[in-house]
């Protein structure tokens, strides 16, 4: 045993981890981001498989073809899946609980994760139709953060088959 006086042990310690990256999205996503302050989501269509990616990459991830034609997405879309967030993290300035949803914009074949507001989280469902709410023009930057959130539109839910591929 020990003959010196010991302090009461601590039980836990907080160890912060911090990584600072300089992110560069590359040429194709940069084009996409440059149009965002105009309130436009521009995807590109793969000439081989016809799928529209937003944001586009240099080449299609499924068939490898270089992307072609630019396609402007609609500001409406469908909730493919969602998550109700009950724990605040990253000090996000949103009242709890809030809903984070994957949105399949009309005209696109990729989904984007966005905040869904204007509805009781209990009432959110897959297939819900939503619309983009942009931040005021002067607050927009070439970033998805320029989209404040999406909100429900008064339309019937999309049938499951319309978004089954994205679940």
């Amino acid at each position: 045993m020990t003959d010196i006086e010991l302090p009461e042990p601590l039980t836990e310690v907080i160890t912060p981890v911090r990584l600072e990256y300089r992110y560069t999205p590359g040429e194709s996503p940069s084009q996409f981001l440059r149009h965002i302050p105009e309130g436009k989501l521009l995807g590109r269509r793969c000439p081989e498989c016809g799928k529209v990616y937003a944001p586009p990459r240099g080449a299609c991830s499924m068939c490898g073809a270089l992307f072609g034609e630019e396609v402007e997405l609609a500001d409406t879309g469908t909730v493919t899946t969602f998550c109700v967030v009950n724990i605040n993290f990253a000090n996000r300035a949103v009242d709890l609980p809030y809903v984070c949803a994957e949105i399949l914009f009309d005209g696109s074949d990729t989904t984007a994760q966005l905040l869904l507001q204007g509805i009781d989280p209990e009432a959110v469902r897959m297939g819900m139709r939503v619309r983009t709410v942009w931040k005021p023009t002067e607050e927009r930057t070439p970033s998805m953060a320029s989209i404040s959130h999406v909100e429900p539109v008064d339309e019937p839910d999309a049938p499951f088959d319309a978004y089954a591929e994205f679940v």
């Binding site: 302090p7 601590l10 912060p16 981890v17 600072e20 992110y23 440059r34």
Partner: protein, 157 residues
């Protein structure tokens, strides 16, 4: 395409809350009180920082020993390009220090401004942070102490 490619800062940070266990918890509580506590192993060696289990027999250890806040540089390396969050924002040395009364070494920053100011065998002491909170950074760094004849030995680099 002549436009510049976009670039933006992206910071990933997490505050992990880690359980210390009884041994490291006691060691950290000691630092908060500006004491360095080690633990004696089955072979009689004093381990600093302490270990929960004996490195030879794997038995639980509970024989605490207080060691000095001063010791000797067992080895060192020069850090010419310090990174954010390190002890200094200019070049400094990392040192493995064997505190008086301990049989193992601990790694920490040593406050020297050029590599010719540090040598193996150099006496150093703990510089405590102003407000110890029970973290390893309660030891702000090590600083040079006066070499004495009986302790100095033959410094080598």
């Amino acid at each position: 395409m002549t436009e510049e490619v976009l670039e933006a800062p992206h910071v990933l940070s997490y505050d992990y809350t880690r359980s210390t266990g009884p041994v490291i918890g006691t060691f950290l509580a000691g630092l908060r009180d500006r004491r360095v506590l080690g633990i004696r192993g089955s072979d009689g060696r004093v381990l600093v920082p302490p270990q929960e289990y004996d490195p030879v027999t794997s038995q639980s250890l509970d024989q605490w020993v207080e060691v000095a806040a001063e010791g000797v540089v067992a080895s060192w390396a020069w850090n010419p390009t310090p990174r954010p969050g390190q002890a200094f924002d200019r070049p400094f040395a990392w040192a493995l220090v064997r505190l008086d009364g301990a049989d193992t070494t601990m790694l920490h920053a040593l406050d020297v401004s050029a590599p010719d100011q540090v040598a193996t065998g150099q006496r150093v002491r703990i510089r405590w942070s102003d407000e110890p909170q029970g973290r390893i950074t309660d030891i702000a760094c090590f600083e040079l102490a006066r070499n004495t004849d009986e302790n100095a030995g033959e410094p080598t680099t």
